[in-house]
Amino acid sequence: MAQIIVVTSGKGGVGKTTSSAAIGTGLALKGFKTVIIDFDIGLRNLDLIMGVERRVVYDFVNLINGDSNITQTLIKDKRVEGLYILPASQTRDKDALTREGVEKVLNDLSEKFDYIICDSPAGIEQGALMALYFADEAIVVTNPEVSSVRDSDRILGILASKSRRSEQGLEPVKEHLLLTRYNPSRVEKGEMLSVEDVSEILAVKLIGVIPESQAVLKASNIGEPVILDEQSDAGQAYLDTIERLLGNKVDYRFLSEEKKGIFKRLFGG
């Protein structure tokens, strides 16, 4: 039985796909058989971030409709053992994801994988609702900014009332807060909400803080998930996030401005 994790946010462009790619890859690096599913029907993106866009033959909707089977449809990553990508369809039909169809595919994948990562589209419509419905855990991706925090809160409300676990009265979806595009120097100037602010407002356990980083743009340009860039701040922050997801305690890094001053070197940060 696979653990199903949705990466969701409400608001668009906060870093869901970047995070799905990084987290899925990170879990596979740890030896878990992992598939990342792109739920953004009509706006396929994960394939680009993973650098597999030229290998897409069939997609999620083909699989649901029975036009293709799992072996034909999943794209095997060439860098990391045990990592697979299920691309979204480019159809304009927003209702292509039926609950029964999604359930059947997830059930089939569940027998073969340890983790299923669902990259949610933005918004709170069908695609986003389908991406979170079957989740055991949710990673709520949030930027330290008012509209993103409000949308995350709405998603938390939906997880608590419209997920399978809530409808069936099971143990609630396990929620994690992932703060991305964090800019410590602006926080220190009081211009931006801090990690403490956001986790206090949303009252969800923090799982990671990813700094605003040039490495993310570079990674998407070359089609390689940023977690494989182990020298980068964002890559390391995602590696830490994986450790916490697996239940290990890891200190937070990149929460304060990098000051390479003599004092910091002498007296520690």
């Binding site: 900014e145 409000r150 009081g190 931006m192």
Partner: protein
Amino acid sequence: MSLLNYFRPKKTTVANQAKERLQIIVAQRRRADDQGNMLSAMEKDILEVIRKYYLNIDPDAISVQLEQNEDDLSVLELNVTLPDDVK
């Protein structure tokens, strides 16, 4: 709390304004959701009671709404539509 914090005027930063606004929004959302969940649970129970003692009506035939009309008046409205052939 570091000594610096005593000198920093806490209330005036834009981050603090954002935080206060968000705390109000989040509290409102939670209250509204709690109420919504309470009402749909009530609806389910009432449906069961009607089915047990009276007749097997459709879940759509029942609606429960709570309206806050004025500060000191709330109206709990329960609507059950009985099928035509029950007279």
